[in-house]
């Protein structure tokens, strides 16, 4: 084979490698910020492919989608166009952890997003396999494809997902492959390795897809969507969705199915030692669940539709790398799947990732200017996590080119901030998934106030539209006015009022009290006290809930704000990223090594580096104080 001849195929501000959930946002953001942008994809047919689960959102993930939307990203708008069932999770718990989760029509999701990319001004979407990222003088200059095309670029965002040296596993069958039998990307890793990049293997997996008509749903528990549908995008708030939702189903594994797994476990490539990539503990395969939790005689299995135009059903909770024949046998012993027929088998996939601690919180590489990484290549998992990173990397590629400060959200501002700070500070040992428990300040980082928190920032960098910004301002205004109104309504303890109080299931008033204090009572809420509120005007549900949350949890929110203040103090103690940690007295060797590697941007970030103890941070603070004094004394 003769060598491919290189030719200059175009000149762009930003080139994005990959058109998955990260790539789409990474391409849209700079294009919307006015920069000439290109997205390269291995296949135009796999734009935002949902290769695993057919849903968007869930605990923590739903928060990310709302934040992406608030900043001017696309994910929420796209899923609002294409969802087939919607549920708000955790409604029995407090407002901070209510999480929206919807079922997607996979094909429609892809089609709609592709349309958006195709129609976006300043953006080109081209099929082509990136085989090299060209770096000159520590700076990225372009991307080369397998066909010899060289796209000049001022910045590059790498979003290769699970494609880099992808390898799938199913029992003894091992294949060089991307997800769902698509072609893997085999040349980019080695090209980057030659430039000194280190790669690590990670592993994930997906369950089988079964034919809907062969499943006995009568043996399962039906899980319908919510009566009231709440859209993901703030743009769509107030919109009513009159549609028939498609149900999901809940069933269970059986003792027999567990026995089949135990009998054949040796044929699992993981147990046979074939897979070396790190898998996620929170997303175990069915064989892992059975082998780890030996005392449980059944495990939950959810059956979810993959779309309106297909009979394929997704079997959540049953991902596996067992041989196909074992899978067939095993699924037969799941209640309701006795006669089910396979359309696709479960498989595991292993792929190359980089160490995300090599990145700044802007997701730019520490040593190579204008090179960004986002999504699964950074060791995360999930569409939402990928999209969040894609958005931030895309924004920052534009910020760099426009000569602006990096756009960084910290842990107190957004789940996106938590996610990125976690991976670049602590690194990842297994595919990283966002969880609400990773956020220290989740009472203030609610999904219902993402627009109030972030849209202004999105608008200021030129990403969030004016329409969106004005909508957020209007919401803020309405909420503030309503709060103010309620705080000024005095309710007097008359006989009549107390009769009403008792009828509402509350207790009598002793003194006159403002209406907001009445709403604060645990047994009452905004809607319930309408009878006491003569001047109430109709408001959107979104506004009412916002008002109620701010009233009811005021005390806790205040406490959280105090925590955030403490947090900010350490975040604002900036560290020189070129600091010589070996010069800090009494710092333990491990801490010197870790800090020298991670190079935190603040004392706060330093305190989150694993292997760095509070005592080390005290030493660091002391060192900074000594340095400060030295500076001061020299002036004296």
């Amino acid at each position: 084979m003769s060598e491919v001849k290189r030719y200059i195929a175009g000149e762009y501000d930003v080139v994005v490698v990959g058109a998955g959930h990260a790539g789409a946002e990474a391409g849209l953001a700079p294009a919307r910020m006015g920069l000439k942008t290109l997205i390269l994809t291995m296949s135009l047919d796999s734009v935002v492919a949902m290769s695993c689960n057919p849903n968007i959102g869930g605990t923590g993930k739903g928060h990310l989608v709302r934040e992406i939307d608030a900043l001017g990203g696309e994910m929420a708008i796209n899923i609002d166009k294409t969802f087939i069932q919607s549920r708000m999770l955790n409604t029995s718990k407090g407002p901070a952890v209510h999480s929206l989760r919807v079922q997607a029509d996979k094909v429609e999701y892809h089609t709609e997003m592709k349309k958006v990319l195709e129609n976006q001004e300043n953006l080109r979407l081209i099929q082509g396999e990136a085989t090299d990222i060209v770096i000159e003088d520590g700076k990225v200059v372009g991307v080369e494809t397998r066909t010899g095309a060289f796209y000049k670029a001022k910045a590059v965002v790498v979003c290769t997902g699970t494609y880099l040296n992808g390898k799938t596993y199913m029992g003894e069958v091992e294949q060089s492959s991307g997800p769902d039998g698509r072609a893997p990307s085999l040349l980019l890793t080695s090209a980057l390795e030659e430039k000194g990049f280190d790669f690590r293997r990670m592993k994930t997996g997906t369950p089988a897809r079964l034919h809907k008509d062969t499943i006995d749903f009568s043996k399962m528990e039906i899980q319908p969507g919510d009566d009231e549908i709440i859209p993901f995008s703030f743009i769509n708030s107030g919109k009513t969705y009159d549609m028939e939702q498609v149900p999901c189903y809940l069933t269970y594994t059986t003792e027999e199915s567990h026995e089949i797994i135990r009998q054949s476990i040796i044929r699992s490539p993981k147990y046979a030692g074939e897979i070396h990539g790190a898998g996620a503990r929170y997303c175990p395969s069915i064989e892992d669940k059975v082998m780890t939790f030996t005392d449980r005689n059944k495990h939950q299995i959810f059956i979810e539709p993959e779309g309106l135009g297909t009979k394929e059903m997704y079997i959540q909770g049953a991902s596996s790398t067992l041989p196909e024949e074992v899978q067939l046998e095993l699924y037969k012993h799941i209640i309701g799947l006795e006669n089910a027929e396979f359309m696709r088998s479960a498989y595991g996939i292993e792929y190359d990732t980089i160490d995300p601690t090599l990145l700044y919180r802007s997701l730019e590489h520490r040593t190579i200017n204008n090179l960004f990484f986002a999504g699964q290549i950074n060791g995360t998992s999930g569409y939402e996590e990928a999209a969040a990173q894609g958005l931030i990397a895309g924004i920052n590629s534009a910020q760099n080119i426009l000569g602006r400060e990096p756009f960084i959200l910290d842990r107190s501002e957004a789940y996106i901030g938590v996610l990125i700070d976690d991976i670049v500070t602590k690194g990842v040992d297994e595919p990283y998934r966002i969880m609400t428990s990773r956020a220290e300040y989740r009472l203030t980082l609610r999904q219902d106030n993402a627009d109030l928190r972030l849209t202004k920032k999105g608008f200021e960098i030129g990403l969030a539209s004016k329409e969106r910004y004005e909508k957020a301002l209007e919401k803020e205004k309405l909420v503030t006015e309503e709060l103010e109104r309620l705080r000024n309504i005095k309710i007097n303890p008359t006989k009549e009022i107390n009769k009403i109080m008792l009828s509402l299931g509350s207790t009598e008033l002793n003194t006159s009290i403002t209406l907001d204090k009445i709403i604060r009572r645990p047994e009452l809420n905004y809607d319930k006290v309408e009878i006491l509120d003569e001047t109430r005007k109709p408001l959107l549900r979104e506004i009412r809930l916002q008002v109620e949350t701010q009233i009811k949890y005021e005390g806790y929110i205040k406490k959280q704000m105090e925590q955030i203040e403490q947090f900010k103090k350490l975040e604002n103690r900036k560290l020189d990223i070129n600091m010589d940690y070996s010069k800090v007295k009494n710092l333990r060797i491990e801490a010197v090594e870790k800090l020298s590697k991670i190079r935190p941007e603040s004392v706060g970030q330093a305190s989150r580096v694993s292997g760095v103890s509070p005592a080390d941070i005290n030493m660091l603070l002391l060192h900074l104080e000594q340095e400060r004094r030295r500076g001061e004394n020299s002036v004296e």
């Binding site: 407090g94 407002p95 901070a96 495990h299 989740r442 350490l570 103690r573 509070p614 005290n618 000594q626």
Partner: protein, 457 residues
Amino acid sequence: MTIAAISTAVGEAGIGIVRMSGSKSLEIANKIFKGAVIESLDDKSSRKMVYGHIIDGENKIVDEVLIAYMKGPHTYTREDIVEIYCHGGIIPVRKVLDLTLNNGARLSEPGEFTKRAFLNGRLDLSQAEAVMDIIHAKTEKSHETSMDQLEGKLSKKIRELRDEILNILARVEASIDYPGEDSIEDVAYKEIIERGSNLRAEILKLIQTSTRGTILRDGLNTIILGKPNVGKSSLLNAILRENRAIVTDVPGTTRDVIEEFVNIDGIPLKLVDTAGIRDTDDLVEKIGVDRAKDLVDKSDLIIAVFDVSKELDNEDKQIIELIKNKKAIIIINKIDLERKFEEKFITEDLSDKIIIESSMVNEVGIEEIEESIKEMFYSGNLELDSGIVINNIRHKNQLEKAKKNIDDVIEAAEMNVPIDCIEVDLKNCWENLGEISGDTIGEDILDKIFSEFCLGK
């Protein structure tokens, strides 16, 4: 900024030391010092004792002193230091200090010399608080407590409590992040209330030891009461003779009160004595009823002495009135003499008190008095030898905060407040405790630690 402070205990002593640290130490010293042999101090006289006088602005001699200038950085604070050795007693030392302040020094904040030593890299932080407490410790028992802390007894206890909080948190988090997962049950409010109450009890127990912690560090504040010639000074002398006196000290400006530190089998006693005890003056008469009442109110223990050979009079009655509801030991002294004292007044009015008959001249009853003090101190549910004692105000404050937060957790759970809100208080409690064991980083932790260091140390 150059700082100055009196570095020796304030009291009647042979010498008193005023110390300055900072770049202007030398300049200030030369403004107020006039040498007898060398006119003024300079780098050549660094680390040498120089004899001369401190003079005020009008060239009047304030005191005859020895002065030492130590050029930094090889000094305690790594800064230039000047030490002035004056005559003891409050007046000359205060005057010299005032002169340094009038000439550009600033009064040192509590612990500022050590803080500077630390910040300038001369001292390590490693468990500095415990180290400081050892310096503070006036008795062996207190010393042991600080040693326990160094060895991590307190940290171990705190970590146990934190682990328990973490366990509850983990359950809460799992139920939030995995809704609908059948393997994860929602945490019941009942469970939070139960486990929270146990935590609360443990925290409270630690807080309760803190009163005793202060006693261990500062001494049991003990006042000896009695009218003239009942044998107070004999009692004091007997106790001092049998036990090691630790320091003699006149704090502040109250010159009418003298404190003697003694150590009775590890129990530090700060015997608050009046000048009157040594002569024949009566405490109540000399310092007034109000002041006596004030002293009594501030005391941890009262030793009231009565003379059995005299009839009970008004002064005795005043004393009985003063100590009625206080922790007190009653000494019926001079049992070697004929009894004229009607004991029933005491047994009626002070029936709950320990009453000891003694004869100081014959050394009868002294041992019994000491035993009683020990017994009173060790009684109650406090186990001194195995238990942890909180003897640091910062730790106590953190425990108080932790208790407040766990109170809020329990109260909120009782009101069915959403679990993710309750978690805010639970996490705060976890952080409060972490600040004690050093597992939580507070930005101002250094300030907190050093503000406790004793003045000028």
